[in-house]
């Protein structure tokens, strides 16, 4: 008997064949003594196993067994919380850096282009520093070596 026929016998036992094929196999079994013998053996083994699995008891006590599970659950939950917190921080940092850059750029553009900042007043302030006294001139001297800058302010009236 070939492998295909043997597996068909098993499929017949497990009720996995379509009705037409199942009827065909039933006819074959009734005519073939060897097929009948194999089927009987398979059926007997299946019946023996059904509901006869050995009942095995856990070799550890309830508290001892649970304590390891509990520790692992706690460890994983702490790890997950830490991961989600660090993910939030890195997400925020990734978002905050370009936001800050954009904010600085926008502020700079507004400062330069907006007339209501009264740039004239700023310029006047700078001029006043440049020439604090009317009709005065200034000469400056800078020495790189000495690290020194000297400014002479001279009133033209004097």
């Amino acid at each position: 008997m070939n492998q295909e026929k043997l597996l068909k016998l098993q499929a017949y036992l497990d009720k996995k064949l379509p009705p037409a094929e199942s009827a065909q196999v039933a006819r074959w079994i009734s005519e073939d003594e060897q097929a009948r013998a194999v089927l009987e053996e398979l059926t007997a083994t299946k019946s023996l196993l059904a509901g006869n699995e050995l009942e095995v008891k856990l070799p550890e006590g309830r508290q001892f067994y649970w304590s390891k599970i509990q520790r692992e659950i706690a460890r994983l939950e702490t790890e997950t919380a830490a991961q989600s917190s660090s993910m939030w921080h890195s997400w925020w940092a990734r978002l905050a850096a370009p936001l800050a850059g954009a904010a600085v750029a926008i502020a700079a553009i507004i400062f330069i282009t907006k007339p209501q900042f009264d740039s004239g007043a700023v310029r006047a302030f700078l001029q006043e520093i440049e020439t604090p006294i009317e009709e005065a001139s200034a000469i400056s001297f800078h020495s790189q070596e000495a690290g020194m800058t000297v400014v002479w302010i001279e009133s033209q009236g004097n």
Binding site: L7, Q10, D14, V56, K57, L58, L76
Partner: protein, 201 residues
């Protein structure tokens, strides 16, 4: 004054709902109820006490992590059993990678050995005490190769379909059928043999 909930009187469904809300005490009660069954399945597949304890505990941790996904389509214990089976199969796959298959195992994989096996009668009508019969079956199961034992357990004890077993074991339905056929014939032979050995003693 706080009142302590009596979890032992609650159904599995109620305990699962309580555990889904974060109640570890409810989950502990589920573990206490079903730990033997989950351990037994791991042991039957791994045939190793320490390994089975570790895998069953890992299954409970996974169960807790995935508890929100449990919809109640199957019973809680069936759902947990599927988790421990998957973990055992992963572990067996890892072990297989480092284990060289024997020539006999390769023959079994390819099919053909079972055709030469004589037909035996495992004698199911013999009057045996249930415990004794179960012990004989367990001893015979221990003598099967990992692949044959796994297919037999999944089909006969877990009542899985060929297709589901094939998916879990990452093989074809034809391989499942072939392994199951060999495993059944080998079990018949082993059970008949165990009987003879006992008579000879």
């Amino acid at each position: 004054m706080t009142t302590r909930t009596d979890y032992s009187g609650m159904t599995d469904e109620a305990l699962v709902k309580a555990a889904q809300k974060g109640g570890t005490e409810a989950f502990e009660e589920l573990v206490a109820r079903h730990r033997d069954k989950i351990y037994a399945r791991a042991f039957s597949m791994m045939r190793n006490e320490d390994g089975a304890v570790d895998l069953s505990q890992e299954a409970w941790v996974k169960g807790w992590q995935r508890l929100q996904q449990f919809q109640g389509d199957a019973s809680f214990v069936t759902w947990m059993t599927r988790i421990v089976i998957n973990l055992c199969l992963d572990q067996l796959r890892k072990q297989k990678r480092v284990r060289a298959d024997s020539i006999e195992q390769l023959d079994e994989e390819l099919g053909g050995v079972e055709r030469q096996m004589p037909v035996v009668n495992p004698n199911p009508t013999e009057r045996l005490e249930r415990t004794e019969l179960r012990q004989r079956i367990d001893r015979a199961l221990a003598q099967l190769s990992v692949e044959h034992r796994t297919v037999l357990i999944l089909h006969e004890f877990e009542e899985m379909e060929y297709k589901e077993i094939a998916k879990k074991m990452e093989c074809s339905i034809g391989t499942v059928m072939s392994r199951l056929f060999y495993a059944r014939r080998r079990m018949a032979s082993l059970l008949a043999g165990l009987k003879r050995e006992e008579f000879n003693q």
